[in-house]
């Protein structure tokens, strides 16, 4: 069971079009917690590309729109 701190720090973001409740502070934490393979990912927060080296410093805010993208097969 989450304690009171969970409710204190939790926020809702939109991750790849879906609302997600999270207590993660940074983009890097979010990517790890959600089970993504960091090497294969391109991350965009609020339509702005965040380079991999800045994931650690990038603090997420309630209501952020996060896109985690990858190159796939296509013509």
């Amino acid at each position: 069971m989450p304690d009171c701190r969970y409710f204190l720090f939790t926020m809702q973001i939109i991750l790849n079009g879906q609302p997600v409740d999270t207590a993660d502070q940074t983009l890097r934490e979010l990517i790890a917690e959600q089970g993504f393979v960091p090497d294969a990912i391109v991350a965009e927060v609020n339509f702005e590309l965040i380079k991999k080296e800045h994931w650690q410093q990038h603090v997420l805010q309630d209501g952020d729109t996060v896109e985690l993208l990858s190159f796939v097969g296509g013509g």
Partner: protein
């Protein structure tokens, strides 16, 4: 063979001479896209392969030096999805903007692709028609203009239209990519007449993209004067994509050489190949 040619030696000299002629014709025949030289005129795609492990051997067999990829949301449950690791570093990655329905969405995808380290090449693909997957030329033109200003090497997938082709040139495109027929349809050059007119009038390289289902159709496009073709579905969905890649490469080369050789025009009636005099009668 040696009885007619004299000796084996002279025969091999003759073959060498043929090779040299071929070389002279084709050595300076590189495809130039945005100032980058490509010796192969076959562009390929990474879509629809049964196994991604087939992409590298297909590239090796076909000699293709440029291959398309798409950008999509990741599903972490689907495991490793990054297609880039299956493409050898010597091959130019060409990200497409598939999924974009407007110029703005295409621009957004292009910027992400470049930031992700894919370089300056971008294939613009703006589609709102889900049945035939035909491109929206107006939005494509808008996206081309915006991205060319940002220094992208823009290859727009387009509905064959001479006026739009000229506008894309003025907007800074590096080539135009008219479709042969709908994506993945294997219907060949349904747009042949319009593509021919674009080839005749375009100052930009013309890459026939989409719908090429057989090597003979690729050769047909090259004979027509296309500068290159882009083939994905036909190679990827064949039973042997490596062999199919090779077959398309040979067809593209044959079509290109035929174009350079300036074949004679079609005739309505027979034109005898043997002399019409001195018959034994």
């Amino acid at each position: 063979m040696s009885s007619r040619m004299g000796t084996q030696w002279s025969c091999s000299v003759l073959l060498e001479a043929v090779d040299v002629t071929e070389y002279r014709k084709t050595a300076n025949d590189a495809l130039l896209l945005g100032g980058v030289r490509f010796s192969s005129r076959l562009l390929t795609g990474t879509g629809k392969f049964a196994s991604r492990e087939l992409i590298a051997p297909m590239l090796a067999a076909s000699g293709s030096e440029m291959i398309t990829v798409a950008l999509r949301r990741v599903d972490p449950k689907a495991g490793e999805q990054d297609i880039l690791r299956y493409i050898p570093p010597s091959v130019q990655v060409l990200p497409n903007t598939s999924g974009a329905r407007t110029a703005e969405e295409a621009v957004r995808i292009a910027r992400i692709a470049r930031e992700a380290g894919c370089g300056d090449f971008i294939k613009i693909e703006v589609i709102t028609d889900n049945r035939y997957l035909l491109p929206d030329n107006a939005e494509t033109l808008k996206a081309t203009e915006l991205l060319a200003k940002e220094g992208f090497i823009v290859l727009p997938y387009m509905m064959p239209d001479i006026t739009v082709s000229k506008q894309l040139h003025d907007a800074g495109a590096a080539a135009v990519m008219p479709l042969g027929s709908p994506i993945g349809s294997n219907r060949g050059l349904e747009m042949k007449a319009m593509i021919k007119r674009i080839i005749e009038s375009s100052k930009l390289p013309v890459v026939v993209d989409a719908g090429i289902g057989r090597p003979s159709q690729a050769a047909e496009a090259m004979e027509l004067g296309a500068d290159a073709v882009l083939v994905n579905t036909a190679i990827a969905t064949s039973s042997d994509p490596v062999m199919a890649g090779k077959a398309f490469a040979l067809a593209v080369q044959a079509g290109r050489l035929a174009r350079l050789a300036q074949l004679a025009e079609e005739q309505e009636y027979a034109q005898a190949s043997s002399p019409l005099t001195g018959f034994l009668r």
